[in-house]
Amino acid sequence: MRWTWFHRLASPPYLYGLAARLTPWFAWPAALLILGGLFAGLVLAPPDYQQGEGFRIIYVHVPSAWMSLMVYVTMGLAAAVGLIWRMKVAHAIAASCAPIGASFTVAALVTGSLWGKPMWGTWWVWDPRLTSELILLFLYLGFMGLRAGFDDTQRADRAGALLAIVGLVNVPIIHYSVIWWNSLHQAPSVLRFGKPTIPGAMLAPLLILLLGFTLFFAALLLVRVRAEILQRERTARWISETLSG
Protein backbone atom coordinates (compact mmCIF):
# COMPACT_ATOMS: atom_id res chain seq x y z
CA MET A 1 0.00 0.00 0.00
CA ARG A 2 2.75 2.39 0.93
CA TRP A 3 4.31 1.91 -2.47
CA THR A 4 1.36 3.15 -4.51
CA TRP A 5 2.96 6.56 -5.00
CA PHE A 6 6.01 4.82 -6.45
CA HIS A 7 3.92 2.75 -8.85
CA ARG A 8 1.94 5.78 -9.91
CA LEU A 9 5.23 7.56 -10.73
CA ALA A 10 6.03 4.70 -13.06
CA SER A 11 3.06 5.57 -15.26
CA PRO A 12 4.12 7.84 -18.14
CA PRO A 13 0.83 9.85 -18.32
CA TYR A 14 0.90 10.48 -14.57
CA LEU A 15 4.54 11.57 -14.59
CA TYR A 16 3.96 13.70 -17.68
CA GLY A 17 1.20 15.63 -15.92
CA LEU A 18 3.06 15.78 -12.63
CA ALA A 19 6.17 17.15 -14.34
CA ALA A 20 4.10 19.81 -16.07
CA ARG A 21 2.56 20.89 -12.78
CA LEU A 22 5.86 20.84 -10.87
CA THR A 23 8.00 22.71 -13.41
CA PRO A 24 7.03 26.26 -12.37
CA TRP A 25 7.58 25.39 -8.71
CA PHE A 26 11.20 24.73 -9.51
CA ALA A 27 11.77 27.16 -12.39
CA TRP A 28 10.66 30.37 -10.65
CA PRO A 29 12.59 29.90 -7.39
CA ALA A 30 15.59 28.85 -9.50
CA ALA A 31 15.39 32.04 -11.57
CA LEU A 32 15.03 34.23 -8.47
CA LEU A 33 17.83 32.49 -6.59
CA ILE A 34 20.21 32.57 -9.54
CA LEU A 35 19.54 36.25 -10.31
CA GLY A 36 19.76 37.19 -6.62
CA GLY A 37 22.84 35.07 -6.06
CA LEU A 38 24.59 36.50 -9.11
CA PHE A 39 23.82 40.04 -7.98
CA ALA A 40 25.12 39.30 -4.49
CA GLY A 41 28.17 37.52 -5.83
CA LEU A 42 29.14 39.82 -8.68
CA VAL A 43 28.22 43.17 -7.10
CA LEU A 44 27.81 42.95 -3.35
CA ALA A 45 30.58 40.54 -2.35
CA PRO A 46 33.97 42.16 -1.64
CA PRO A 47 36.88 41.40 -4.01
CA ASP A 48 39.34 38.78 -2.84
CA TYR A 49 42.51 40.18 -1.27
CA GLN A 50 44.66 37.82 -3.30
CA GLN A 51 42.74 37.11 -6.51
CA GLY A 52 40.98 40.49 -6.87
CA GLU A 53 37.82 40.49 -8.96
CA GLY A 54 38.83 37.33 -10.80
CA PHE A 55 37.63 35.11 -8.00
CA ARG A 56 34.03 35.95 -8.84
CA ILE A 57 33.96 33.27 -11.51
CA ILE A 58 33.61 30.72 -8.71
CA TYR A 59 29.98 31.81 -8.50
CA VAL A 60 29.39 30.04 -11.80
CA HIS A 61 32.24 27.55 -11.68
CA VAL A 62 31.61 25.91 -8.32
CA PRO A 63 27.85 25.40 -8.82
CA SER A 64 28.48 23.99 -12.31
CA ALA A 65 31.11 21.59 -11.03
CA TRP A 66 28.83 20.58 -8.16
CA MET A 67 25.94 19.99 -10.55
CA SER A 68 28.08 18.00 -12.98
CA LEU A 69 28.65 15.41 -10.26
CA MET A 70 25.18 15.58 -8.79
CA VAL A 71 23.57 15.04 -12.19
CA TYR A 72 25.80 12.01 -12.74
CA VAL A 73 24.71 10.52 -9.43
CA THR A 74 21.06 11.27 -10.24
CA MET A 75 21.52 9.66 -13.64
CA GLY A 76 23.16 6.58 -12.15
CA LEU A 77 20.45 6.16 -9.51
CA ALA A 78 17.64 6.65 -12.04
CA ALA A 79 19.35 4.15 -14.35
CA ALA A 80 19.65 1.65 -11.49
CA VAL A 81 15.95 2.04 -10.64
CA GLY A 82 15.12 1.53 -14.32
CA LEU A 83 17.30 -1.55 -14.65
CA ILE A 84 16.23 -3.19 -11.38
CA TRP A 85 12.49 -2.49 -11.45
CA ARG A 86 12.22 -2.28 -15.24
CA MET A 87 10.69 1.15 -14.92
CA LYS A 88 10.50 2.89 -18.28
CA VAL A 89 10.16 6.41 -16.92
CA ALA A 90 13.29 5.98 -14.79
CA HIS A 91 15.20 5.30 -18.00
CA ALA A 92 13.61 8.40 -19.50
CA ILE A 93 14.89 10.38 -16.51
CA ALA A 94 18.39 8.95 -16.87
CA ALA A 95 18.42 9.72 -20.58
CA SER A 96 17.28 13.29 -19.89
CA CYS A 97 20.00 13.80 -17.28
CA ALA A 98 22.93 13.11 -19.60
CA PRO A 99 22.86 16.21 -21.86
CA ILE A 100 22.19 18.47 -18.87
CA GLY A 101 25.07 16.97 -16.92
CA ALA A 102 27.40 17.17 -19.91
CA SER A 103 26.51 20.86 -20.33
CA PHE A 104 27.24 21.59 -16.66
CA THR A 105 30.55 19.75 -17.05
CA VAL A 106 31.48 21.84 -20.09
CA ALA A 107 30.50 24.99 -18.18
CA ALA A 108 32.68 23.96 -15.24
CA LEU A 109 35.61 23.22 -17.57
CA VAL A 110 35.30 26.48 -19.49
CA THR A 111 34.96 28.63 -16.38
CA GLY A 112 37.80 26.75 -14.69
CA SER A 113 40.02 27.38 -17.66
CA LEU A 114 39.01 31.06 -17.83
CA TRP A 115 39.86 31.35 -14.14
CA GLY A 116 43.16 29.54 -14.67
CA LYS A 117 44.44 32.04 -17.20
CA PRO A 118 44.83 35.02 -14.81
CA MET A 119 45.51 32.89 -11.72
CA TRP A 120 47.86 30.22 -13.04
CA GLY A 121 48.98 32.09 -16.15
CA THR A 122 47.75 29.31 -18.42
CA TRP A 123 44.45 28.16 -19.84
CA TRP A 124 44.85 24.59 -18.79
CA VAL A 125 46.56 22.98 -15.86
CA TRP A 126 46.51 19.27 -15.12
CA ASP A 127 44.99 20.05 -11.79
CA PRO A 128 43.20 17.07 -10.22
CA ARG A 129 39.84 18.79 -10.22
CA LEU A 130 40.07 19.93 -13.84
CA THR A 131 41.29 16.49 -14.89
CA SER A 132 38.50 14.66 -13.05
CA GLU A 133 36.02 17.03 -14.62
CA LEU A 134 37.37 16.26 -18.08
CA ILE A 135 37.10 12.53 -17.39
CA LEU A 136 33.54 13.04 -16.20
CA LEU A 137 32.78 14.72 -19.52
CA PHE A 138 34.06 11.61 -21.32
CA LEU A 139 31.87 9.43 -19.11
CA TYR A 140 28.85 11.51 -20.13
CA LEU A 141 29.87 11.35 -23.78
CA GLY A 142 30.29 7.58 -23.54
CA PHE A 143 26.81 7.23 -22.04
CA MET A 144 25.26 9.37 -24.76
CA GLY A 145 27.31 7.67 -27.47
CA LEU A 146 26.23 4.23 -26.31
CA ARG A 147 22.57 5.23 -26.21
CA ALA A 148 22.84 6.75 -29.68
CA GLY A 149 24.33 3.52 -31.01
CA PHE A 150 21.10 1.56 -30.51
CA ASP A 151 18.04 1.97 -32.70
CA ASP A 152 15.80 0.27 -30.18
CA THR A 153 14.99 2.53 -27.21
CA GLN A 154 14.60 -0.32 -24.73
CA ARG A 155 17.98 -1.80 -25.51
CA ALA A 156 19.57 1.66 -25.44
CA ASP A 157 17.94 2.18 -22.04
CA ARG A 158 19.22 -1.01 -20.50
CA ALA A 159 22.72 -0.86 -21.99
CA GLY A 160 23.04 2.80 -21.02
CA ALA A 161 21.78 2.04 -17.52
CA LEU A 162 24.42 -0.62 -16.99
CA LEU A 163 27.11 1.77 -18.19
CA ALA A 164 25.84 4.51 -15.87
CA ILE A 165 25.98 2.12 -12.90
CA VAL A 166 29.48 0.97 -13.80
CA GLY A 167 30.43 4.63 -14.11
CA LEU A 168 28.89 5.40 -10.73
CA VAL A 169 31.04 2.71 -9.11
CA ASN A 170 34.08 4.04 -10.94
CA VAL A 171 33.70 7.78 -10.38
CA PRO A 172 35.14 7.75 -6.83
CA ILE A 173 37.95 5.39 -7.88
CA ILE A 174 38.86 7.61 -10.82
CA HIS A 175 38.60 10.74 -8.69
CA TYR A 176 40.95 9.49 -5.98
CA SER A 177 43.35 8.00 -8.52
CA VAL A 178 43.60 11.37 -10.20
CA ILE A 179 44.23 13.11 -6.87
CA TRP A 180 46.90 10.52 -6.02
CA TRP A 181 48.47 10.91 -9.47
CA ASN A 182 48.49 14.67 -9.19
CA SER A 183 50.04 14.75 -5.75
CA LEU A 184 53.05 12.97 -7.28
CA HIS A 185 53.34 14.88 -10.50
CA GLN A 186 52.27 18.39 -9.57
CA ALA A 187 54.76 20.81 -11.08
CA PRO A 188 56.25 23.03 -8.36
CA SER A 189 55.79 26.17 -10.46
CA VAL A 190 52.02 25.93 -10.23
CA LEU A 191 50.44 27.91 -7.47
CA ARG A 192 48.43 25.74 -5.17
CA PHE A 193 45.81 27.35 -3.07
CA GLY A 194 45.00 25.68 0.18
CA LYS A 195 41.39 25.31 1.16
CA PRO A 196 40.61 28.98 1.72
CA THR A 197 38.39 30.02 4.54
CA ILE A 198 35.75 32.02 2.73
CA PRO A 199 34.24 34.92 4.68
CA GLY A 200 30.46 34.96 4.98
CA ALA A 201 29.91 37.77 2.46
CA MET A 202 31.58 35.64 -0.20
CA LEU A 203 30.13 32.32 0.93
CA ALA A 204 26.46 33.34 1.15
CA PRO A 205 26.05 34.08 -2.60
CA LEU A 206 27.77 30.78 -3.37
CA LEU A 207 25.30 28.84 -1.25
CA ILE A 208 22.38 30.71 -2.81
CA LEU A 209 23.71 29.86 -6.27
CA LEU A 210 24.26 26.22 -5.35
CA LEU A 211 20.61 25.95 -4.37
CA GLY A 212 19.56 27.95 -7.43
CA PHE A 213 21.52 25.71 -9.79
CA THR A 214 20.07 22.60 -8.16
CA LEU A 215 16.52 23.87 -8.66
CA PHE A 216 17.43 24.94 -12.19
CA PHE A 217 18.55 21.38 -12.89
CA ALA A 218 15.30 20.02 -11.46
CA ALA A 219 13.26 22.35 -13.67
CA LEU A 220 15.31 21.49 -16.77
CA LEU A 221 15.02 17.80 -15.97
CA LEU A 222 11.23 18.01 -15.68
CA VAL A 223 10.98 19.73 -19.07
CA ARG A 224 13.31 17.24 -20.70
CA VAL A 225 11.54 14.28 -19.12
CA ARG A 226 8.24 15.49 -20.58
CA ALA A 227 9.83 15.77 -24.03
CA GLU A 228 11.40 12.33 -23.60
CA ILE A 229 8.06 10.79 -22.55
CA LEU A 230 6.30 12.42 -25.50
CA GLN A 231 8.85 10.97 -27.86
CA ARG A 232 8.76 7.50 -26.35
CA GLU A 233 4.98 7.31 -26.09
CA ARG A 234 4.28 9.01 -29.40
CA THR A 235 2.03 6.17 -30.52
CA ALA A 236 0.09 5.95 -27.25
CA ARG A 237 -3.51 7.05 -27.21
CA TRP A 238 -3.25 9.12 -24.01
CA ILE A 239 -0.94 11.53 -25.78
CA SER A 240 -3.43 12.52 -28.46
CA GLU A 241 -6.11 12.73 -25.77
CA THR A 242 -3.94 14.93 -23.52
CA LEU A 243 -2.66 17.16 -26.27
CA SER A 244 -6.00 17.69 -27.99
CA GLY A 245 -7.96 18.02 -24.74
Binding site: I135, F138, L139, L141, G142, G145, L146, G149, F150, Q154, R155, R158, A159, L162, L163, I165, V166, G167, V169, N170, I173, I174, S177, V178, W180, W181, L184
Partner: protein, 250 residues
Amino acid sequence: MSITDLPAGVGSALDSAPSLVYAARPAPALDAARLALSRDLVLAFRKRGQLLQPLAFFALVTMLFPLAVSPELSRLRAIAPGVLWVAAMLASLLALEFLFRDDAHDGTLEQYALSGQSLTWLLFAKTIAHWLLTGLPLALMAPFAAMSLGVAASAVPGIVLIMVVGTIALSLIGAIGAALALGMKRSGTLLALLTLPLSLPVLIYGARATELAIAGNSYMAPLELLAALAVLAVTLAPLGAATAVRISLE
Protein backbone atom coordinates in the same frame (compact mmCIF):
# COMPACT_ATOMS: atom_id res chain seq x y z
CA MET B 1 10.33 -10.80 -20.85
CA SER B 2 12.36 -13.21 -22.95
CA ILE B 3 13.69 -16.61 -22.08
CA THR B 4 17.19 -15.26 -21.65
CA ASP B 5 16.00 -13.57 -18.48
CA LEU B 6 15.87 -16.83 -16.57
CA PRO B 7 18.25 -16.57 -13.66
CA ALA B 8 21.57 -18.19 -14.49
CA GLY B 9 22.18 -21.56 -12.92
CA VAL B 10 18.51 -22.51 -12.53
CA GLY B 11 18.86 -25.46 -14.87
CA SER B 12 22.00 -26.79 -13.33
CA ALA B 13 20.64 -26.41 -9.80
CA LEU B 14 17.60 -28.50 -10.74
CA ASP B 15 19.77 -31.14 -12.35
CA SER B 16 22.21 -31.49 -9.55
CA ALA B 17 19.93 -31.18 -6.53
CA PRO B 18 18.60 -34.76 -6.37
CA SER B 19 21.80 -36.61 -7.17
CA LEU B 20 24.40 -36.94 -4.47
CA VAL B 21 27.06 -37.89 -7.00
CA TYR B 22 27.42 -34.23 -7.88
CA ALA B 23 28.20 -33.27 -4.32
CA ALA B 24 31.61 -34.88 -4.44
CA ARG B 25 32.51 -33.19 -7.74
CA PRO B 26 33.62 -29.61 -8.28
CA ALA B 27 30.87 -27.11 -8.96
CA PRO B 28 29.40 -27.58 -12.46
CA ALA B 29 29.82 -23.85 -13.08
CA LEU B 30 33.56 -24.22 -12.74
CA ASP B 31 33.58 -27.24 -15.05
CA ALA B 32 31.70 -25.30 -17.68
CA ALA B 33 34.01 -22.35 -17.24
CA ARG B 34 37.04 -24.57 -17.69
CA LEU B 35 35.56 -26.02 -20.86
CA ALA B 36 34.83 -22.54 -22.20
CA LEU B 37 38.37 -21.50 -21.41
CA SER B 38 39.95 -24.43 -23.22
CA ARG B 39 37.58 -24.02 -26.16
CA ASP B 40 38.61 -20.40 -26.58
CA LEU B 41 42.28 -21.28 -26.34
CA VAL B 42 41.96 -24.03 -28.95
CA LEU B 43 40.03 -21.78 -31.31
CA ALA B 44 42.58 -19.01 -30.90
CA PHE B 45 45.52 -21.28 -31.65
CA ARG B 46 43.81 -22.36 -34.87
CA LYS B 47 43.82 -18.73 -35.98
CA ARG B 48 47.33 -17.79 -34.94
CA GLY B 49 47.50 -14.75 -37.19
CA GLN B 50 44.99 -12.94 -35.05
CA LEU B 51 47.06 -13.58 -31.94
CA LEU B 52 50.01 -11.65 -33.29
CA GLN B 53 48.04 -8.54 -34.22
CA PRO B 54 47.88 -6.86 -30.79
CA LEU B 55 51.56 -7.64 -30.23
CA ALA B 56 52.55 -6.16 -33.56
CA PHE B 57 50.39 -3.14 -32.79
CA PHE B 58 52.06 -2.74 -29.41
CA ALA B 59 55.53 -2.85 -30.99
CA LEU B 60 54.45 -0.45 -33.70
CA VAL B 61 53.08 2.14 -31.26
CA THR B 62 56.24 1.86 -29.19
CA MET B 63 58.29 2.49 -32.32
CA LEU B 64 56.34 5.66 -33.12
CA PHE B 65 57.73 7.46 -30.10
CA PRO B 66 61.43 7.39 -30.95
CA LEU B 67 60.47 8.57 -34.43
CA ALA B 68 58.18 11.30 -33.15
CA VAL B 69 60.10 12.47 -30.08
CA SER B 70 63.81 11.79 -30.41
CA PRO B 71 66.16 8.83 -30.77
CA GLU B 72 68.10 9.94 -27.65
CA LEU B 73 67.86 7.14 -25.12
CA SER B 74 67.94 9.51 -22.14
CA ARG B 75 64.78 11.27 -23.33
CA LEU B 76 63.11 8.04 -24.31
CA ARG B 77 63.88 6.53 -20.91
CA ALA B 78 62.07 9.41 -19.27
CA ILE B 79 58.87 8.79 -21.24
CA ALA B 80 59.17 4.99 -21.35
CA PRO B 81 56.55 4.23 -18.62
CA GLY B 82 53.98 6.38 -20.36
CA VAL B 83 54.78 4.94 -23.77
CA LEU B 84 54.54 1.36 -22.52
CA TRP B 85 51.21 1.91 -20.79
CA VAL B 86 49.57 3.91 -23.53
CA ALA B 87 50.69 1.33 -26.08
CA ALA B 88 49.46 -1.52 -23.86
CA MET B 89 46.12 0.17 -23.28
CA LEU B 90 45.58 0.77 -26.99
CA ALA B 91 46.68 -2.75 -27.92
CA SER B 92 44.34 -4.24 -25.33
CA LEU B 93 41.54 -2.00 -26.59
CA LEU B 94 42.16 -3.18 -30.14
CA ALA B 95 42.10 -6.79 -29.01
CA LEU B 96 38.75 -6.31 -27.25
CA GLU B 97 37.08 -6.38 -30.65
CA PHE B 98 37.81 -10.11 -30.83
CA LEU B 99 36.63 -10.90 -27.29
CA PHE B 100 32.93 -11.53 -27.96
CA ARG B 101 32.45 -10.65 -31.62
CA ASP B 102 32.85 -14.08 -33.25
CA ASP B 103 30.84 -15.84 -30.56
CA ALA B 104 28.07 -13.29 -30.86
CA HIS B 105 27.97 -13.75 -34.64
CA ASP B 106 27.71 -17.54 -34.68
CA GLY B 107 25.29 -17.71 -31.75
CA THR B 108 27.66 -19.25 -29.21
CA LEU B 109 27.03 -16.46 -26.72
CA GLU B 110 23.30 -17.04 -27.04
CA GLN B 111 23.83 -20.73 -26.29
CA TYR B 112 25.93 -19.79 -23.28
CA ALA B 113 23.14 -17.57 -22.01
CA LEU B 114 20.55 -20.31 -22.53
CA SER B 115 22.67 -23.16 -21.22
CA GLY B 116 21.54 -22.76 -17.63
CA GLN B 117 25.16 -22.40 -16.60
CA SER B 118 26.26 -19.26 -14.85
CA LEU B 119 26.91 -16.75 -17.61
CA THR B 120 29.12 -14.81 -15.21
CA TRP B 121 31.51 -17.74 -14.88
CA LEU B 122 31.47 -18.47 -18.60
CA LEU B 123 32.30 -14.88 -19.46
CA PHE B 124 34.94 -14.77 -16.76
CA ALA B 125 36.52 -17.83 -18.41
CA LYS B 126 36.30 -16.17 -21.82
CA THR B 127 37.93 -13.02 -20.48
CA ILE B 128 40.70 -15.01 -18.81
CA ALA B 129 41.30 -16.84 -22.09
CA HIS B 130 41.43 -13.46 -23.80
CA TRP B 131 43.92 -12.21 -21.24
CA LEU B 132 46.10 -15.31 -21.66
CA LEU B 133 46.12 -14.65 -25.41
CA THR B 134 46.65 -10.88 -25.40
CA GLY B 135 47.39 -9.42 -21.96
CA LEU B 136 49.98 -11.96 -20.89
CA PRO B 137 51.90 -11.83 -24.21
CA LEU B 138 51.84 -8.03 -23.97
CA ALA B 139 53.28 -8.20 -20.46
CA LEU B 140 55.98 -10.60 -21.67
CA MET B 141 56.79 -8.38 -24.62
CA ALA B 142 56.88 -5.16 -22.62
CA PRO B 143 60.50 -5.68 -21.41
CA PHE B 144 61.75 -5.78 -25.00
CA ALA B 145 59.88 -2.58 -25.82
CA ALA B 146 61.20 -1.06 -22.60
CA MET B 147 64.78 -1.98 -23.35
CA SER B 148 64.50 -0.50 -26.82
CA LEU B 149 63.59 2.74 -25.02
CA GLY B 150 66.80 2.63 -23.00
CA VAL B 151 65.49 0.99 -19.83
CA ALA B 152 68.05 -1.02 -17.84
CA ALA B 153 67.64 -4.80 -17.80
CA SER B 154 67.42 -4.79 -14.00
CA ALA B 155 63.93 -3.28 -14.25
CA VAL B 156 62.59 -6.16 -16.36
CA PRO B 157 61.10 -8.39 -13.60
CA GLY B 158 59.28 -5.42 -12.14
CA ILE B 159 57.89 -4.33 -15.50
CA VAL B 160 56.61 -7.84 -16.28
CA LEU B 161 54.95 -8.16 -12.86
CA ILE B 162 53.29 -4.73 -13.10
CA MET B 163 52.13 -5.39 -16.66
CA VAL B 164 50.68 -8.80 -15.73
CA VAL B 165 48.61 -7.31 -12.92
CA GLY B 166 47.59 -4.27 -14.95
CA THR B 167 46.53 -6.15 -18.06
CA ILE B 168 44.24 -8.41 -15.97
CA ALA B 169 42.37 -5.31 -14.86
CA LEU B 170 42.39 -3.88 -18.40
CA SER B 171 40.94 -7.07 -19.93
CA LEU B 172 38.17 -7.34 -17.35
CA ILE B 173 37.15 -3.69 -17.50
CA GLY B 174 37.26 -3.90 -21.27
CA ALA B 175 34.99 -6.97 -21.21
CA ILE B 176 32.10 -4.83 -19.92
CA GLY B 177 32.62 -2.31 -22.70
CA ALA B 178 32.96 -5.01 -25.35
CA ALA B 179 29.76 -6.68 -24.14
CA LEU B 180 27.86 -3.38 -24.17
CA ALA B 181 29.06 -2.58 -27.68
CA LEU B 182 27.97 -6.00 -29.00
CA GLY B 183 24.58 -4.76 -30.12
CA MET B 184 26.08 -2.26 -32.53
CA LYS B 185 27.32 -2.66 -36.07
CA ARG B 186 30.29 -0.31 -35.83
CA SER B 187 31.70 0.05 -32.39
CA GLY B 188 35.40 0.89 -32.76
CA THR B 189 35.51 4.46 -31.50
CA LEU B 190 32.60 3.95 -29.14
CA LEU B 191 34.43 1.07 -27.50
CA ALA B 192 37.33 3.44 -26.83
CA LEU B 193 34.99 6.07 -25.43
CA LEU B 194 33.37 3.50 -23.13
CA THR B 195 36.48 1.69 -21.96
CA LEU B 196 39.31 4.20 -21.73
CA PRO B 197 37.82 6.54 -19.09
CA LEU B 198 37.06 3.54 -16.89
CA SER B 199 40.61 2.21 -17.32
CA LEU B 200 42.33 5.46 -16.34
CA PRO B 201 43.11 4.37 -12.76
CA VAL B 202 44.93 1.33 -14.19
CA LEU B 203 46.96 3.64 -16.39
CA ILE B 204 47.80 5.95 -13.49
CA TYR B 205 48.98 3.26 -11.08
CA GLY B 206 50.56 1.12 -13.78
CA ALA B 207 52.60 3.94 -15.27
CA ARG B 208 53.66 5.17 -11.85
CA ALA B 209 54.74 1.71 -10.72
CA THR B 210 56.65 1.23 -13.98
CA GLU B 211 58.32 4.60 -13.54
CA LEU B 212 59.48 3.62 -10.05
CA ALA B 213 60.65 0.21 -11.28
CA ILE B 214 62.68 1.82 -14.05
CA ALA B 215 64.24 4.24 -11.59
CA GLY B 216 65.19 1.28 -9.41
CA ASN B 217 62.97 2.29 -6.50
CA SER B 218 60.36 0.30 -4.63
CA TYR B 219 57.14 0.16 -6.62
CA MET B 220 55.10 -1.76 -4.09
CA ALA B 221 52.65 1.03 -3.21
CA PRO B 222 51.31 1.66 -6.73
CA LEU B 223 51.53 -2.06 -7.51
CA GLU B 224 49.34 -2.83 -4.50
CA LEU B 225 46.79 -0.25 -5.64
CA LEU B 226 46.95 -1.77 -9.12
CA ALA B 227 46.39 -5.21 -7.61
CA ALA B 228 43.43 -3.83 -5.67
CA LEU B 229 41.93 -2.62 -8.95
CA ALA B 230 42.55 -6.03 -10.50
CA VAL B 231 40.81 -7.77 -7.59
CA LEU B 232 37.88 -5.40 -7.82
CA ALA B 233 37.68 -6.03 -11.55
CA VAL B 234 37.83 -9.82 -11.06
CA THR B 235 34.94 -9.71 -8.61
CA LEU B 236 32.65 -7.18 -10.28
CA ALA B 237 33.47 -7.02 -14.00
CA PRO B 238 32.22 -10.54 -14.92
CA LEU B 239 28.86 -9.71 -13.32
CA GLY B 240 28.68 -6.51 -15.33
CA ALA B 241 29.75 -8.26 -18.52
CA ALA B 242 27.11 -10.98 -18.02
CA THR B 243 24.40 -8.35 -17.56
CA ALA B 244 25.65 -6.50 -20.63
CA VAL B 245 25.63 -9.65 -22.76
CA ARG B 246 22.07 -10.46 -21.69
CA ILE B 247 21.04 -6.91 -22.65
CA SER B 248 22.81 -7.22 -26.01
CA LEU B 249 21.13 -10.56 -26.75
CA GLU B 250 17.61 -9.33 -26.09
